[in-house]
């Protein structure tokens, strides 16, 4: 069965290309029925407010929550992390609330402060080259949330059960190890 990639807005094609390159079949998801029979779920980078509003208007919020809670391996990158989270430190926006973290949006500043860095990740042997774009960090994490990587002590990659979420964009660098981690976990 394919991995579903939420394709309301953002860099969903980069996720699809990366997964296809790994030999993984993918399906772009814009409607609830397209979530049936998927082996994994990716929520891409993009604008989290836009993705949240479209998911709400097109009846995707509950079906997405059901898929994630059923244990389907799930990856959220940047906006995907924000959308999966329980809330943000800033103004209210629409979340799935399936990942027990509160995120701080644009935590490193505006676009001129976006950066690339080498990142040590728990469970990966070699460091990972990570691209942070107007990136969020995790401000608070629940007891079930495992922190896999940090920048200046702020968590930027976490795991909770079947969910992995990152502040950065593995899909922009051809980095396959994060997607492999996601696909190999059990719910």
């Amino acid at each position: 069965m394919p991995v579903g990639i939420l394709a309301l807005q953002g860099d969903f094609r980069e996720h699809a290309q990366l997964l296809n390159g790994m030999g993984v079949e993918t399906r772009l998801v814009r409607k609830p029925g397209e979530l049936d029979s998927i082996d994994g779920l990716v929520i891409p980078g993009g604008e989290s407010t836009t993705i949240g509003k479209l998911a709400d208007r097109y009846g995707l919020l509950e079906p997405l929550r059901r898929v994630v809670r059923s244990g389907v391996p799930t990856l959220g990158t940047c906006a995907g992390l924000i959308f999966l989270a329980a809330g943000t430190t800033g103004p209210a926006q629409i979340h799935l609330g399936v990942l027990d973290v509160v995120v701080e949006r644009n935590a490193f500043g505006r676009q001129v402060d976006s950066f690339e860095a080498e990142l040590d990740v728990t469970g990966l042997v070699d460091p990972l080259h990570a691209v942070f774009i107007r990136a969020p960090v995790i401000d608070k994490a629940g007891a079930d949330v495992e922190i896999l990587a940090t920048v200046e002590n702020d968590p930027v990659m976490v795991r909770q059960g079947n969910i992995i979420a990152t502040s950065f964009h593995p899909e922009l660098t051809g980095e396959t190890r994060v997607h492999t981690l996601m696909l190999n976990q059990e719910g």
Binding site: L8, F12, R30, K53, C78, R110, V131, L172
Partner: protein, 293 residues
């Protein structure tokens, strides 16, 4: 930690794909745009239709207005600098805008030289009518391209023409033998390394949005089906009868661009569209797309 790299500049545009960037002239407009689902707003003092009507010299916006818009929304805020006016760009960078649009909608400050965009940490988006123009801007450091279209008209014909031109020229490059590329680079007036790259990949190395004349949900979906990465809507929203509904409809048509039933649904009861000006009615000197080279 490396800031201001090519990858982070081009990367922000990647995150805007499949989205709508809306022109706004104050914080209230910006909130309406964000609420509708815009991926970013473009802060400017007058929308292109008004610049066209008012005449005179159009310049960078007042920093206070830009800061009010930055404070009002969480999505990226872009702002326009005049072609070649690198000090306006420096000011915009110091304000922390997320993207600078070196724009033909404003009155050019330099008819010979565009801004050296490599010198900035803030990324730039630039307009183009054809592949040579797009590659010259990328050669100068632009991290995102948009069609110029013909701003402030509500007539989509030029955006279509510019996108088809760029795409057709790229397709032609992919069929050429390597020895043909240098004379083509000469004819296009484009950097050779970029011509070589496109002959190889068949696509621009940066994100390419449509701009200039998009006024309806169907216009946005048309450009998306043609293959653009996203759309800018300038005068089309806030010069229409019901901006909030139209903005929301254009966002939804941009996501569901392949689904005519959704485009039909969101196109209902949007009130009056902006009053259009047919591009063919414009005198040569009234066309903004001819600014820059």
């Amino acid at each position: 930690m490396d800031k201001g790299t090519d990858r982070v500049k081009r990367g922000l545009a990647e995150m805007l794909k499949g989205g709508v960037i809306m022109d706004v002239v104050n914080a209230d407009h910006a909130r309406i745009a964000e609420e509708a689902g815009a991926v970013a707003v473009m802060a400017l003092e007058r929308v292109p239709a008004d610049i066209r009507a008012d005449g005179g010299v159009a310049r960078m916006s007042d920093p206070t207005m830009i800061e009010e818009i930055q404070a009002a929304v969480s999505i990226p805020v872009m702002a326009k600098a005049r072609i070649g006016h690198f000090v306006e760009a420096q000011v915009l960078q110091s304000l922390g805008v997320d993207y600078v649009d070196e724009s033909e909608v404003l009155t050019p400050a330099d008819e010979e030289h565009h801004i050296d965009k490599w010198a900035f940490a803030v990324p730039f988006v630039c307009g183009a009518r054809n592949l040579g123009e797009a590659l010259r801007r990328i050669g100068e450091g632009a991290a995102m391209i948009r069609t110029k279209g013909e701003a402030g008209t509500g007539d989509v014909v030029e955006a279509v023409r510019h996108f088809r031109t760029i795409n057709g020229e790229m397709q032609r490059l992919t069929t050429m033998k390597h020895e043909e590329l240098m004379s083509t680079a000469r004819d296009l007036g484009a950097p050779f390394d970029l011509v070589e790259e496109i002959a190889e990949t068949g696509k621009l190395p940066v994100v390419n949005f449509a701009a200039g004349g998009i006024a309806t949900p169907a216009d946005a979906a048309l450009m998306m089906q043609l293959g653009v990465d996203g759309v800018f809507v300038g005068s089309g929203i806030f010069k229409s009868g019901d901006p909030a509904s139209r903005a929301k409809a254009i966002v939804e048509a941009t996501t569901y661009y392949e689904d005519p039933s959704i485009i039909a649904k969101v196109s209902r009861n949007l009130g009056e569209p902006m009053v259009g000006i047919g591009v063919t009615e414009l005198e040569e000197g009234e066309r903004l797309a001819g600014r820059g080279w």
